[in-house]
Symmetry: C2
Subunit: 229 residues, 2 copies
């Protein structure tokens, strides 16, 4: 039986925008593994209770269940060592880990400010109240107020991308001539934006935008085929 | 004849604080190569004119002259392939390159705000006017005004360190269980601060401070032996 994973879906089943789940989508494509996704919503906690926690991605491979996108990548490396490596070397693992922390501290915070009020509109109706209540509690304000200065948040986001922008002026992918886990992790942040909002994120001519296009082209345009905006 | 390199020195010859030269100090130690430094000041442009440009580090190895700390690291890798690698793998090279861009865009800017008014006092008297004039032109204000909100700049610096702080909670060095070029590049930023200022940069208990101590301990306490504050 093919690998399956539980993947956050929006109002339409085809709309997929979790930045963490996107790491798993592309980790599986990188490995060349057959898989199917199971659309999941925030309020479907019971559906993944067997994993011992309440967040996606949750991967099921035969009798193995793995949650957390990083743990899934490590599991795939260990279980499928003959398939192309997600790390390439121990140093690639350290780089991917740094890219993860960089994405989660420098990129996702300004992105949340930009996207919050659009996200809620893309969710399945049954998820909207859950998302609004939990996030408004976390942010200490309404989603609309939180997203009201998105132009400023976008400046912060673009500023945070500086190290990547420089590297993308030098080589096609963070991981060199071909993408690997570091690229998939950062790309997850961009897929979060692409799947929830039509607000333009990058300036024209930004080398990071050219990288994003290359990422959208991978594996026969796999990521591009999902609903955007 | 041993390798030599021109290294920025302060008022005392032993005071060395160029963030770029520190990359070369530790690249050479990492490679286990014998070398001597030649103290150099900003106004000694003639002394390195043979390199075709005006910045240090400039490395001289037999009849080869190499400038720019990244080019020096690549030269050392190629010329001394039997010595421990500064990259470890192609992925390690990409990581070091990202670390370089991250250091230069996210760390050095707030550090300059913190350090500017202290740096000028640590310089050789013959360099002070050059430094003040060139930097005040670049900043559009006096060094003292530029450094007047250093507590805020320190908050920005600490915030920028978040991805590294998380990684240092997980492993001893950016490059894993042992340091490599990515570590030396980031450490150069801290040596810039250590060699010019006694302003406390990191909070007590910060995992990045523990990493800095490990870096100061390397190679028999090599970096620690240089004048601080």
């Amino acid at each position: 039986m093919a690998i399956r994973f539980y993947d956050l879906a929006g109002a339409e089943e085809a709309r997929r925008f979790s930045p963490y789940c996107w790491r798993t989508h592309l980790s599986l494509k990188h490995k060349g593994l057959d898989f199917a996704t199971i659309p999941w919503r925030f309020t479907d906690k019971d559906a993944i209770a067997f994993s011992g926690q309440g967040l996606v991605p949750v991967l099921v491979d035969g009798d193995r269940t793995v949650h957390d996108s990083w743990s899934i990548a490590e599991y795939l490396e260990e279980r499928y060592p003959q398939a192309p490596s997600l790390f390439g070397s121990p140093q690639g693992r350290h780089f991917a880990r740094f890219a993860k922390h960089w994405t989660e501290t420098a990129l996702l915070a300004p992105l949340m400010r930009i996207l919050a009020k659009d996200i809620v509109e893309r969710l399945h109706p049954k998820d909207r109240e859950y998302f609004r209540t939990s996030r408004e509690k976390r942010f200490g304000t309404t989603l609309e107020a939180f997203s009201s200065e998105r132009d400023q948040a976008r400046e912060q986001f673009r500023q945070a991308l500086l190290p990547m922008r420089r590297l993308m002026g030098e080589q096609p992918f963070l991981s060199g001539s071909a993408p690997a886990l570091a690229d998939y992790i950062v790309f997850g942040a961009f897929q979060w934006a692409r799947g929830t909002s039509s607000y333009p994120l990058l300036a024209e001519g930004d080398p990071v935008a050219a990288w994003r296009e290359r990422m959208l082209d991978l594996y026969g345009g796999y990521a591009r085929a999902f609903p955007a905006g």
